[in-house]
Structures are given as C-alpha cells and as structure tokens.
Symmetry: C2
C-alpha cells in the first residue's frame, strides 16, 4: 500500500438527490456505506504505515541531478523537493475486491510486466487534461524513468468513463494491478464513489482537477455544473479550426500574397522546425505562415511590405544540430549522394545559417528564436509570449484571454 | 478574501541547503519567516470567515443545468456538486504588499476592467499544462461565463517564471487585482515561497501539479527532481514531429501511394473536419492521411489494397450542419453563384452523404465516427480509443503508453 497526498476531500453534505445513483454504485462496488470520517488524515511523520522508501536509486539520482544542474547552468545548492506532505491513508481493512477476469496484454502475469508500475488515468471527458498533467508530473522523474531496468512505468488512459459499470471494472483492475489511480469526474457522485472505493481497496488515488475547480468555484462564488464537459464549440473554437486550415495552406512559403493575413510569420532555413512549430501554434489559434530561407532565392516581397513587421519571427539553430537533422532527412528521402552533399554538407549548412543571420540583422524588428535543444512546445511558448508582449506593449509579460 | 481548498501542503523539514535562496526570496517578499503551522486547515462548515456566496445566479444556473441535462439525455436527478471541502484560509493579518507600479492594459482601473475576475497562472515551464487544467475547470462554469454581463473572467498566463524577482512582481500584482493564483513550480523553494506570500497577502491559490507529483513520488518511491522540466527530446518526441510532417504531406488525398504508411486514414466528404482532426491526431504522434469522398470520383485503389483495413475511419456528419459549413466555406472562398449551389445545395449535400454511407456499408471493417456537434478533441479521443482497442484486441479499452 502506498501513502497518498490529501488531494480530494469528502463532500460531507452530499445532495440528497444523488443518493439514488450513489446507492446503485455502492451495490456494484459491494461496499457498505462508509463513514466519511473514516479516512485518516495524517502526516507522513506520524504515519503508522512504513514511509515509502525514497532512497531507491538515490546515488544514481544524485549523479544525474548534479550533471543536469551543471548543464542547466544553475547553482548546485538547489534542494531536492522534500515530501513531508499531508497524506490520506486508505484504511487497511475492507474486503478484497472481486476482480473482473480480463485477458489483456497489460494484465498478463509475465515477469517483465509484473515489474512495471501502472498509472491508471480515468476521465469522464477526453482525458487529455489528465494526460497533460501526468506527463508534466512524470517530467519530474526523468532520472528514474530513463533507467528502464530500474522500473518502467506504464500509463493507461481510460477516457469517456461516464457510467458506474465501467468505473467499477477499472477500479477493480487498478486494485489488482497495485496501480496508482488519477481521475477527473465532473459528476461529484462519481468522484465520491471513486474515492470511497479506492480507500476501501487500498488504491492510492488523486482527484486531479478537483482542487482547481473548487478554487475557481470559491473565487467566482458559483457552483460548478457537475456535468461532464463538452468542449464548447464557440467562436474561439472555430477560430482555432480556421487557424489550422490557414497554417496548412501557408506551409513552406505557399501563397506569399496572403502573408499579411497571418498572425505570425516564421522565417528560417530548411529543417529548423518551421512546420511543426507552425502547426503547434495553429492549434493554439494563431494563423501562421512559414517561409523558407534558401541561399540564392529572394524572400517574397510581400514579407517586407507587410505593416506589422514585428509579427515576423526568425528561427535559428546550431549548425551541428541542423547538419544532423538534414543528414537524417536526406536519408529518409533517399537523396542520391551528390544531392545529399549539397543539402547536408557542414560547410554549406554554416554558410546558409550565416546568410539567414544577415537577413535577420537587416530586419531588427524580427525577434530571433533559438531552436537548439528545445521542444516545439518550448519555442512555441517563447513565440507566443513575445507575440503578446509586442501586441500589448505591457511590462507584465502575460498571455491574457477573456472568457 | 476567498476560501481556498487545501491543495498545497507545507514541507515541514525543508532541506537546509535551500535556506539561502529562500532567505533571499523572503527579503524580497518582506515576509517574516512564518510558522508552518500557522496556516489553518478547516472545513467550510466550521470556518469563521463568511462562506463564499454560491447562490449567485443560481436560478439561471438551474435553468441552464436542466436544459443542458435534458439535451444530454441524462436523468435530472444528477446533483450539482457540493463544495464542503477542506480549505486553507490565508491568515487575515500581515502587512499589505507593496505593489509594483505597472501601466498595463490589464491593470487599468477602468470600470469595465474592474468587474472582471482575474485568474493568474504562473508556471516555471511553458504553462500549457496549467492552461489545459484551467480550461478544463472553467468548462464547469460555462453557465456563468456564457453570461458576460454577470462577470467576465480573464486569465493571465505567466510562463517561464523561474526567478524570485519575476515571481514577486506577479504575486504583488495578483494581490492588487484580487486575483486567484494557480501555479506550478518544480522547485520546492519557489512553491513554498509562493504559498507563504499568498497566505500573507490573502491571495487564494492552488499548487495545481503538486498533488499529482507527490502521489507519483510516493507511488514510485522516488523523489521528484525539483528541476524545471524541459520537454524531453526523446524517441517519442521525434516520432510526433515526423507524424506532423507526414500528416501535412498527406492532407486531402495527396500521395495515395503511401497510404499504407499511415497509422490512421480518415475518409469523408468535403467539410466534415478531416484536416483539423488529422492535425490534432498528428500532434498526438499518429501518422494520419485523409482522403476526400467526391461523388463521381473513385477512391484510390491503394486504400482498399492496404493490409490493415481497420485503420481506415469513415467520418459522418449531419447534413444540415454540413450544409452550413459549406455555405460558410463557399462565402469565404468567394465562389460564384453557380459553383456555390453545386457545392452547398442541400439536396446535393444529402446525396453526397448517402454516397459516402454506401461506401462505408461496403467496408464494414471501417469504424464510422460522427462529427456532429463535437469538438475535434472529442472525436480524436474516440478515434484514438478505437485505434488502440483494435490494435490490442483487449477488453479494457485504455490507451497505454510505456515510459
């Protein structure tokens, strides 16, 4: 059994109208109605169950930590996060769950699979928010996950779980798998049932979205609807769809006569990452055009004739990384040897980047964003921040939206 | 002052090595070191501060709730979520913060702006996870937000906040704006400082990612690294980039000879939403090709010759919605009247959808996904779930990933 942080709280005065569906669920769960006060809230220090052994792999962790800190240019005195948080321990008692028989590859009892830790993600919606959250959190355990031999982690996303039957099957399987359960339900009776079943069956669990929703409810002074959310098909949604269509049409220098209609124009040499960056920004609702810089080819006149030169972004990248990207690309495309040399040869790469650098120098209003060693999401965050700063000319560099 | 749910917890044994940076931050914050036990954990029922008024707009909410429930085909006895959760009340005492002077449009004292509620989102990374979470939570307040006159909500995303100076400026502004603060910091000393400053200045706040990270740490028995996460540029990352490039190249029936290389092939008549759906799936790492169905034009032979027919998805849509989409499109493209009639006329729309239906009937291994009234994210979730179900032939329909 694992200690779990106190993230969900008990609704002590459940709406009486919920009793029917909750009673149904309880029947399914074979759970006797539990006393809401039975969940024990303790601090790890005073817990009577063994504290999780956090020293596992710590020598390796320390080496990794030092190496990464040095690489990142930070000082080494940064602490590793301590973990003495308030936690809720599911009661040890309670009948073991009757587990559904499932002949599934993830549930096989093979030795390799038994070693894996399992994170179950259960959502009544698409589950993407949960997946984002778990990915972001798992980023804090890179050092551990990088070493597959230590212990692989497998995540299982269950989306669209809006009925007690499916929920029960998953919870039983989670208990059988000794999994960690992360969930979001808009419906408070589903949340409450999940929490109670997890406590009874010793499944560590966190209601991921609830703290945020409760805080917003409290702040606005409005109750959450409690209805599984459909993504609203409003004005902003259709603007995003339009942005994607615009961006695809204006990939790789196509239709330069419409550059002025773009929100953002990306300019860079081949294989710098213009296309995936454009697409990511389009998903966020920005109409993006991208224009390749090719030695000996003039950039389209319309680029320089636009009113808003500050919406043009130059991208740059380390020549060695670019060379590697291009060699890989040339192989993938099956270029013959002569062509491959022109396209990827290191000297050529350097000259082309210099050529791009001169263009950027002549256009000082274009911000230049470095792409080396960064994911598209990270460079997108930089571009969007600069875009909003320039647009709003404010000293608090935030990206603001009205709802 | 607003009640906030207990989402962050105090690290009671902070690592001594963190004292330097924390001391620095305290100087900046003008905060006397606070007793970690001073944050009072109470339930709303026993709270001495006034409970937030949750009845505001409740008649309207109830109407909206009933209407939406009926539309969604659910029973009406579903309860509105109750809100009696454990909350942390920032102590009322403490010197008011010295607020930085910022001449910013979001900070203007115009009457219109003063009415807005402000949600500040502060992240040491890109902030996208935080934005996803807040969007998902705000989906629970659609009924309130739809009525702009009641009270608009403005969100402000501050990304890449990795130094105390910027953090302090934002926290002070949040206090001045009576904002709700949602934050994620990998560095525990930054989290702790944020929490203390918010308590001192009466800013309601939630550490959004912490419950998940703490649960995973406890489950894996490993400490989180505490280092602001870069998105790892591993194999999966480059697979996603490749998927985006593949998908753009294979939009709208291009290069049908390579259909067999796609993970997913979408087939539908024009304006059903093939392109944005393809792009969304590509961002998730799936190579997608989409093929238009046009009356009188044969689908490419390669589509039927592929080994894995189950990776082909037919899309369908309500004829009235499709007609509306097409009329809008025809206008946007400036079609002349004759062409517009062929493309968008209702009878033609119906016949084309029937034609598509016949193709789907002849290919029963193709799942058919309805696009009417759903966001791309929602149909993508359906496609991905079916894709994994078919691939794994399992009875627990999850999307599984190994880390």
């Amino acid at each position: 059994m694992h200690a779990v942080p106190k993230a969900t709280s008990t609704a002590e005065n459940p709406n009486p109208s919920s009793s029917l569906s909750r009673a149904n669920l309880r029947d399914r769960l074979d759970v006797i109605p539990s006393d809401p006060t039975s969940s024990s809230t303790v601090t790890a220090a005073s817990s009577t169950i063994p504290k999780p052994n956090l020293s596992k792999g710590s020598a390796q962790l320390n080496r990794w930590f030092r190496a990464r800190t040095i690489r990142s240019g930070r000082r080494l005195e940064r602490p590793v996060q301590t973990n003495n948080q308030e936690i809720t321990i599911p009661p040890a008692s309670g009948s073991p769950p009757r587990v559904v028989e499932v002949s599934d590859d993830i549930l096989s009892s093979e030795e390799d699979d038994a070693k894996k830790k399992k994170i179950y993600m259960v959502s009544d919606g698409t589950g993407w928010t949960l997946e984002h959250t778990v990915n972001a959190s798992l980023g804090q355990f890179e050092h551990y996950l990088a070493d597959y031999k230590a212990c692989a982690v497998k995540t299982h996303l269950f989306s669209g779980i809006d009925n007690p039957k499916s929920l029960v099957d998953i919870l039983k399987q989670a208990a059988k798998d000794d999994a960690l359960l992360l969930y979001t339900h808009a419906d408070s009776s589903m949340s409450e049932s999940t929490k109670q079943a997890c406590q009874l069956w010793g499944v560590p669990s966190v209601d991921v979205l609830s703290p945020t929703t409760v805080a917003i409810a409290s702040y606005l002074g409005v109750q959450p609807s409690g209805i599984s959310r459909n993504i609203p098909l409003g004005e902003e949604y259709f603007r995003r769809i339009e942005a994607i269509e615009f961006t695809i049409k204006h990939d790789d220098g196509a239709f330069p006569q419409y550059l002025h209609r773009a929100d953002i124009v990306l300019v860079a040499v081949s294989r710098t990452g213009k296309t995936p960056l454009s697409i990511y920004l389009a998903q966020k609702g920005y109409k993006v055009a991208n224009v390749p810089i090719v030695m000996g080819v003039n950039l389209p006149k319309t680029l320089f004739e636009m009113d808003h030169q500050e919406k043009v972004f130059g991208l740059t990248i380390n020549p060695t990384v670019l060379h590697t990207n291009r060699t890989a690309r040339a192989k993938a495309l099956g270029f013959d040897h002569a062509m491959q040399i022109t396209y990827s040869e290191m000297d050529h790469v350097r000259r082309e980047l210099e050529f791009a650098g001169k263009i950027y120098a002549k256009n000082p209003s274009w911000p230049v964003v470095g792409m080396t060693g960064k994911a598209i999401e990270e460079t997108a965050a930089v571009v969007v921040r600069i875009y909003h700063e320039k647009k709003r000319k404010c000293s608090m560099p935030s990206i603001s939206k009205r709802y």
